[in-house]
């Protein structure tokens, strides 16, 4: 059936969910989950570095020195907004740890459902 959200048709149907989020490849779901975290960390690190490169390039164009960045004091509103963003990052890195149950096994459940 096509679904609606509010009164707007989305034209999306029900669907058959894959079991792929419940797999352990290493026999211990926590190891699997740690790897998921590490992959996200790599991505996150690059996200930050890329932004940093752009910012520093722009700042240098405007004559801003690196010391000014080191000594910067944030306003309370900035602190609050950044804390919110930081919490989203925590969720992104760790939220899957309590969802993957590891009930399917890489070695023996190879045929799927």
């Amino acid at each position: 059936m096509a679904e609606t959200k509010g009164n707007r048709p989305t034209y999306a149907t029900d669907f058959i969910t894959t079991d792929i989020e419940k797999v352990t490849f290493f026999g211990n779901v926590h190891i699997d989950n740690m790897m998921t975290t590490l992959l996200a960390m790599g991505n996150e690190l690059w996200v930050q570095r890329k932004r940093q490169h752009i910012l520093e390039a722009l700042l240098a164009e405007k004559g801003v020195k690196p010391e000014a960045i080191e000594k910067y004091v944030a306003t309370p509103a900035q602190e609050q907004a950044w804390a919110k963003e930081r919490d989203v990052l925590v969720a992104r890195l760790w939220s899957h740890h309590d969802k993957n149950t590891g009930e399917y096994n890489f070695a023996s459940d190879w045929n799927g459902k």
Binding site: M1, A2, E3, K5, R8, P9, T10, Y11, A12, T13, D14, F15, I16, T17, T18, I20, E21, V23, F25, F26, D32, M35, T36, L39, A40, G42, N43, E44, L45, W46, V47, K50, R51, I54, R92, F106, A107, S108, W110, N111, G112
Partner: protein, 402 residues
């Protein structure tokens, strides 16, 4: 740094003249897409991802994926070869699928390859989903505005989706039918699958360029089946600007996105939400029917029925050109070998290609001849698009006898 410019300005610059290579001929009624969300502009024909962070995230995912597909996959296959050897088996020996998988599945490098592939892909889908669902109203409004705009027709037929089309192939959340932004997810997700080499539809342009023209040279109507985001549809229109070009797909969100993209590019092509095995077009309607990587994603029954349907809707002399990953899966010389089992297992199970095993055992190429086409076995005759690697096997095609 890559140059950023609006796609619309490219279209306007080209004006009514023939398209420059790599860009599209403008459609007739070019009306700027209302409510267009394009905060970071476009790079050629691709809208840049809407935030710098998402763009960088995607960029790093692609780089990681290239490592997984390259060095890590080589290491994994090397391990597979060593394990097989310890069982007295060569990678090219024909052994049972079950034995092969049982032998290799406990190896940490092979497990790492599948695990990192699968988890990286999971992250990518989640990040894309976070953007589109996190801004649901804006993106839905953009789609709604496009639904009502031209050039080109959009036809939606809610409720026609058979169960088999509702799987989360490639682990894409909601699959092709179940997420309102399935087209958005698929387009940016597959850019990542192509290792960043298809941002300007290069692959689709090459494929559209490879479709053989009917002997009488007449190309008035073209259909692309299982068109996803419509990249081949727009590429075909670019090659055949005077033809009426249609794309069909069973994912309504896919064709909505495809239509939106075409409207935004000002390209006059049409989309219908329909099954390839039951397109709803009249007998003998098209001069060309194409598809690209559709057959491996449908059931055996659907795969055969699609060939019949193509035959029905093509006119005598018309060309059927179904391109897929392996042009002739049932005749592959490596079919049933140990190393193929390892790869097929990863594709089917860990990339969630639900119908992969059907694909490997369904002779849809033979069906092209059986339903009455003249089959040109391009693998022998050397025409068609090389799918596996340059110089590798090529795609067959069917010509409806006059």
């Amino acid at each position: 740094m890559s140059k950023v410019f609006s796609r619309r300005s490219i279209m306007n610059a080209i004006g009514g003249t023939a398209a420059a290579a790599g860009f599209f001929r403008p459609g007739t009624a070019v009306a700027k897409l209302k409510k267009d969300i394009e905060p970071r502009g476009s790079n050629g024909t691709l809208e840049r991802l809407p935030t710098l962070d998402l763009d960088s995230y995607d960029d790093f995912s692609t780089a990681t994926r290239i490592w997984i597909n390259g060095d890590l996959t080589r290491a994994s296959e090397q391990r597979a070869a060593e394990i097989l050897k310890s069982h007295g088996v060569k990678p090219t020996d024909k052994v049972s699928f079950e034995d092969t998988v049982r032998w290799v599945a406990d190896d940490p490098i092979i497990a790492l390859r599948s695990a990192s592939w699968q988890r990286l892909q999971w992250h990518m889908w989640q990040e894309l989903r976070r953007e589109f669902h996190g801004n649901f109203d804006a993106y839905m409004s953009e789609l709604e505005a496009a639904d009502a705009s031209g050039p080109g027709v959009l036809e939606l037929n809610p409720g026609i989706e058979p169960e088999y089309t509702k799987h989360e192939i490639h682990m894409q959340p909601g699959g092709y039918t179940g997420d309102p932004f399935a087209g958005h997810l698929y387009h940016y997700g597959t850019n990542n699958f192509y290792n960043g080499t298809n941002h300007q539809d290069q692959r689709h342009t090459a494929l559209a360029g490879a479709v053989p023209v009917p002997a009488d040279g007449k190309v008035r109507r073209i259909l692309d089946m299982g068109c996803s985001c419509g990249q081949q549809v727009t590429a075909l229109k670019q090659r055949f600007p005077d033809a009426e070009v249609w794309g069909i797909d069973i994912g309504a969100p896919m064709v909505r996105y495809a239509h939106m993209r075409a409207v935004d590019l000002g390209i006059d092509v049409n989309f219908r939400h329909a099954l390839a095995e039951q397109t709803g077009f009249p007998d003998g309607h098209f001069d060309m029917v194409t598809s690209y990587i559709l057959h491996h994603e449908v059931t055996a029954a659907a795969s055969l029925q699609i060939v019949k349907e193509a035959h029905r809707i093509l006119r005598p002399g018309g060309v059927f050109y179904p391109v897929d990953i392996y042009p002739s899966p049932t005749n592959r010389s490596d079919h049933g070998t140990a190393i193929r089992h390892v790869r097929d297992w990863m594709t089917h199970r860990w990339n969630h290609e639900r119908w992969w095993n059907d694909y490997l055992t369904t002779d849809y190429i033979g069906e092209i001849a059986r339903v009455g086409f003249t089959l040109q076995d391009a693998a022998r005759e050397g025409v068609g698009y090389p799918m596996v690697a340059p110089g590798g096997p090529r795609n067959p095609l069917g010509i409806k006898p006059v």
